[in-house]
């Protein structure tokens, strides 16, 4: 939607090192005969709330990503492929910088950041992300933990078993008021920046509220070859 002030940020930075012997980054693997990344971008394109959908890619894969978008998505005027950063959070900062360069950044600008390798994202999850980011400033998509979470600080013995009823597993999207996120991020020390792999944690360590959005069990991240098999099975609908 023109001037909705909501931007999709698809994080396609992964180089796929956890994907066994597969050479291509995992977002280019196919499910149902189509690259995972394309499935994910299509979900954003079909949500009319997004002014633009920014796809953040490692430099060497930008052309390949653009080619795939051209091949699979006929109406692509709202999609932009830009270069990601060295870390997840730097990549998000690149997206905010891009929005600013377009003269579209203000206090109410919302970014909905999402792993490109979570193609089972649903319309509801996107909508609730937009709604809660607007209302609360930040939100994180989670599902209630079904397995007991066990903490081990020395990787050898248990240091804690937190109460499962208060535990959640993080998914994406994670959505933010972009300017505020950047201000908080910039106030971190370089050391803190290195440790923070999760964008929501930027707010959490600053004592800010991050609202929960209920995810879906099926909103899986395709990380291991096993996940590809699960993904194909989820596609099994007659």
């Amino acid at each position: 939607m023109e001037n909705s002030n909501v931007f999709g940020v698809v994080l396609a930075g992964g180089k796929g090192t956890r994907m066994g012997n597969v050479e291509k980054p995992k977002q280019f693997m196919e499910i149902g005969g189509k690259p995972i990344l394309i499935h994910t971008i299509e979900k954003f394109v079909l949500n009319t709330e997004f002014e633009q959908v920014l796809v953040l890619s490692p430099k060497q894969w930008i052309k390949h990503t653009e080619d795939l978008i051209r091949r699979y998505i006929p109406t692509r005027d709202r999609i932009v492929v830009i270069e990601g950063g060295t870390t997840r959070n730097e990549t998000i900062m690149n997206s905010i910088a891009y929005i600013e360069q377009q003269g579209r950044l203000n206090e109410d600008t919302v970014i909905v950041t999402h792993d490109s390798v979570r193609p089972f994202l649903t319309y509801r999850i996107l909508e609730e992300n937009i709604r809660y980011a607007r209302e609360y400033g930040a939100c994180d998509t989670v599902i209630a933990a079904t397995d007991t979470i066990v903490e081990s600080r020395d990787r050898a013995s248990i240091t804690d078993i937190p109460d499962r009823s208060t535990m959640y597993q993080g998914q994406t999207p994670q959505s933010f008021k972009a300017m505020h996120l950047r201000t908080l991020y910039q106030s971190l020390t370089e050391e803190e920046k290195q440790i923070l792999t999760d964008a929501c944690k930027i707010l959490v360590i600053k004592g800010e509220q991050v609202h929960l959005v209920e995810g879906e069990v099926s909103n899986i991240k395709i990380t291991y070859p096993y996940d590809l098999r699960v993904a194909e099975a989820l596609l099994g609908g007659k």
Binding site: I31, G32, G33, K34, H39, E42, K43, V45, L46, N47, T48, Y72, I73, P74, T75, P119, F120, T122, Y123, R124, E127, R131, E214, E216, S218, L234, L235, G236, G237, K238
Partner: protein
């Protein structure tokens, strides 16, 4: 795109599966917003269909009465954001004589092919009809059901003989209400009588000229033509009662669905020279005509608000199950599920 499809896996159990949708330049994509539960959906949900039919058709997404919003239209037939009613009949050929909803080659959503209980619907623009601006969306959700009555009335009056002073409708539930309302709106000069089994429900037929409980119909009552909108186990009794009261050469429109064959008084059909016309489903022509009627007679939409029962917000599968369970226990009216954006 991996489209979330909420299929009924087996009676009372929904399952989320995904199906790929490829964006192309011929198909429109619609986000369903308001979905209305039909008795046909309930028969699958509760497992009230023969087992071989359930085995053949499930898993399948239910719901064939729904409206939505256009989110993607490369054909430029609609604008993004347009509210449309979706036509569940999917013809695969054109026939100059036989209507699309009677072609054996047509498919029908939520009956052999997935219904509208999906994240997105991909369709050719021909299966969508633009809704009037500002229309009550909850009422618009069951436009398909109303279009079935609209279609049946059209067919009926194409062949019923010209004396149409008195017409009676058997059935005091949703289909009876809708059919009666449309007859009175389209043919206000007709004297319309409604027969039912529940006095409280009959009292809602305020637009009818008179109503009777089926066991208190005056002996000298007679009508030129009649519609059966009862269906189920009571349909044979209703049809036989119509045969008793109808004047010679009258036409009986059959709209109610029965699972079992109905024993009817064929001797009297012969003696009176009656005609029976079956009607089922509807096609694009009916949706277009009905939407025009909504615009020209907005009071129809107001009357239809009377049969909105529960409106249930759905976010996920357990809400869908809840809506179907609530629909089972309703007294009257249509249950409409509204996607929480």
């Amino acid at each position: 795109m991996l489209n979330a499809v909420y299929q009924l896996k087996r009676p009372r159990q929904f399952e989320l599966v995904y199906q790929d949708i490829t964006l192309d330049d011929q198909h429109v994509i619609v986000r369903p917003t308001h979905l209305s539960i039909c008795n046909a959906d309930q028969r699958y949900y509760q497992g009230n269909r023969p087992e071989e039919i359930l085995n053949k058709k499930l898993p399948m997404a239910l719901i064939h009465e729904a409206i939505g919003q256009v989110v993607y239209d490369p054909t430029a037939t609609f604008a993004v954001g347009d509210r449309v009613v979706m036509i569940p009949n999917l013809p695969s050929e054109e026939d100059p004589v036989i209507a699309e909803n009677y072609l054996r080659s047509s498919r029908f959503r939520a009956s052999g092919t997935d219904g509208f209980l999906q994240e997105y619907i991909q369709t050719v623009p021909d299966r969508l009809v633009l809704l009037p601006e500002g229309i009550n969306l909850t009422v618009a959700a069951f436009t398909e059901l109303v279009s079935v009555s609209y279609h049946a009335i059209g067919r009926f009056f194409e062949s019923a003989h010209a004396r149409r002073e008195a017409v009676a409708v058997w059935g005091d539930e949703n289909l009876g209400y809708i059919t009666s309302l449309l007859i009175k709106t389209m043919y206000p000069e007709i004297r319309l009588t409604v027969m039912g089994v529940n006095e409280a429900k009959l009292n809602d037929f305020t637009f009818a000229d008179e109503t009777f409980l089926v066991n208190r119909i005056p002996q000298d009552f007679a009508m030129d033509h009649a519609f059966e909108c009862v269906g189920g186990n009571a349909a044979p009794r209703a049809i036989n009662q119509i045969i008793d009261y109808i004047r010679p050469e009258g036409t009986i429109g059959i709209l109610g669905v029965t699972e079992d064959p109905a024993p009817i008084n064929t001797r009297m059909i012969l003696e009176k020279g009656l005609r029976m016309i079956g009607s089922s489903r509807s096609g694009r022509k009916d949706f277009k005509g009905l939407v025009e009627l909504y615009s020209s007679h907005p009071e129809v939409v107001d009357y239809l608000e009377n049969i909105v029962g529960e409106q249930i917000t759905i976010r996920e599968i357990r809400d869908i199950s809840k809506a179907f369970e609530m629909d089972i226990h309703k007294l009257i009216g249509k249950t409409v599920m509204v996607w929480d954006k």
